[in-house]
Symmetry: C2
Subunit: 278 residues, 2 copies
């Protein structure tokens, strides 16, 4: 049986970059969990002594510590407090998140009303919003925007993981209510690239193994897409869930993984499949 | 029988302004017909000696003449040629058209690729396009845009008479293909205000008289809207077409007029209706 990985799967560019930064730094603390995968957090803790700090103010008690800002970024005012402490700050904010932070800063300084399309409580959005020099509007959909007063000149950015079709609706509402709308498409395609790749691979494979946390919504989405073209699709978290009978008579096994699944978990599962199919 | 005018009808702000300019100026020539209504052109000719010049180069033979630039505006290079002649230039370009001309100039100077949503052959669009310092793209729909190469930074304006729903489609395509899109909603609501007003009035009137050229597409559109709510809707060009029997037993007569219909034609028709219904 042939095993084939999807063209795009697992960690995105920004997460890979942040993990590499944390590994190279060693003995550091990340502000909030670096990714939503406990096994990976444990590996970083055990192999590189990278701890997870819930609140950056904890550094006050331990000021010689190295602080890693995770991919989501942090709020501008928090960064300023952190800078006043005696802490080595290493910024692992994803460049795709730094971009809307800068846009929001510049556009608000130029007098544009700032609209952020995203979830108000998401750390990335909180961070981006904090860079606005005027009161920014955060909306998750058009209905929320309808409750807001729109000025003549508006600049809009999006949370990186939002769907472009929803972003379009918000932009269309704005262009009906403002004279000028500066649209910055800050959506990152990583999530959608994984989805496209599963769509492609599942149409040729006769068994698909989708790897990721059972509560990971992006992994579930990959599984649902896979199921559409490949009846024998399975969503697993680790190699212990694999069943030999799944592979009986199969010729091509496709593999994909959610955005929080590290490569080493994927590799362990592939080894186990090879064992089963010997 | 009561006669009621639609809340909005006939000439838009820009056309009214241009006619006033031509009347006050006297003995002038407009570059191209001021509006698409021969009766009005004749009135301006007879009462104010305002002629219509097909080609502005005709001024060369008669350099002391006053030249009126009509609401659509003219191309930048033509204006420059005109300025070199010994001609008094009076600019009656609609301010709603001067606006996209200025935007296109400034945005192209700032390095944005210019996209104009409109009809390439329309004089307004030709004029707006001429203000771009780089090669501007003119598209009438998304399909045409798909044939074009889109740069990273794009600025878009619309022909003033386009539908916003179509403009939205073009903007959505752009935001999927550019990193920054500056959207300037330069659509003028005048046409749509006349339509909204007919929609409202025709739902309460029991006869509707829609006045305008039989080949005027915006008048035909008003008639079609009126017909939806008021069965007894009539599209006429002048008072000779009115028939007394139309008004038998009617209580409320609604009146509207296309964008090229001057007030004095509307007034003549209203007088005639009053005569019929005495």
């Amino acid at each position: 049986m042939e095993i084939k990985l999807a063209k795009s799967y697992g960690f995105c560019f920004g997460v890979k970059r942040a993990i590499k930064i944390a590994e190279e730094l060693k003995d550091a603390s990340t502000i909030g969990p670096l990714i939503h995968n406990n096994e990976e957090i444990n590996r970083l803790k055990n192999d590189f002594n990278v701890a997870t700090t819930k609140d950056f103010k904890e550094f006050q008690a331990n000021p010689t510590k190295k602080a890693v800002i995770r991919t989501h970024g942090i709020e501008k005012q928090d960064l300023e407090v952190l800078k006043e402490m005696d802490v080595e700050i290493v910024n692992a904010t994803c460049p795709y998140v730094t971009n809307p932070q800068n846009i929001v800063k510049n556009m608000s300084e130029e007098g544009y009303q700032i609209v952020i399309f995203g979830d108000e409580k998401h750390p990335e959005v909180k961070g981006v919003k904090s860079y606005s020099t005027s009161e920014a509007i955060v909306v998750a959909n058009v209905e929320e925007l309808q409750q807001k007063h729109i000025k003549r000149k508006v600049a809009i950015v999006s949370q990186t993981t939002k769907k472009v079709s929803e972003f379009e609706k918000v932009v269309c509402y704005l262009l009906n209510h403002a004279k000028e709308v500066r649209v910055f498409n800050t959506i990152c395609n990583a999530t959608f690239e994984n989805q496209d790749a599963v769509r492609e691979l599942s149409s040729e494979a006769d068994i698909m193994i989708i790897i990721g946390g059972k509560n990971s919504s992006n992994t579930k989405e990959l599984y649902n897409i896979s199921k559409l073209s490949c009846h024998d699709s399975y969503h697993i978290e680790n190699e212990s869930e694999l069943q030999a009978k799944w592979f009986d008579g199969k010729k091509l096994c496709g593999i994909s993984a959610g955005a929080s699944t590290p490569d080493w978990i994927i590799e362990k599962i592939i080894s186990k499949i090879k064992e089963i199919c010997v």
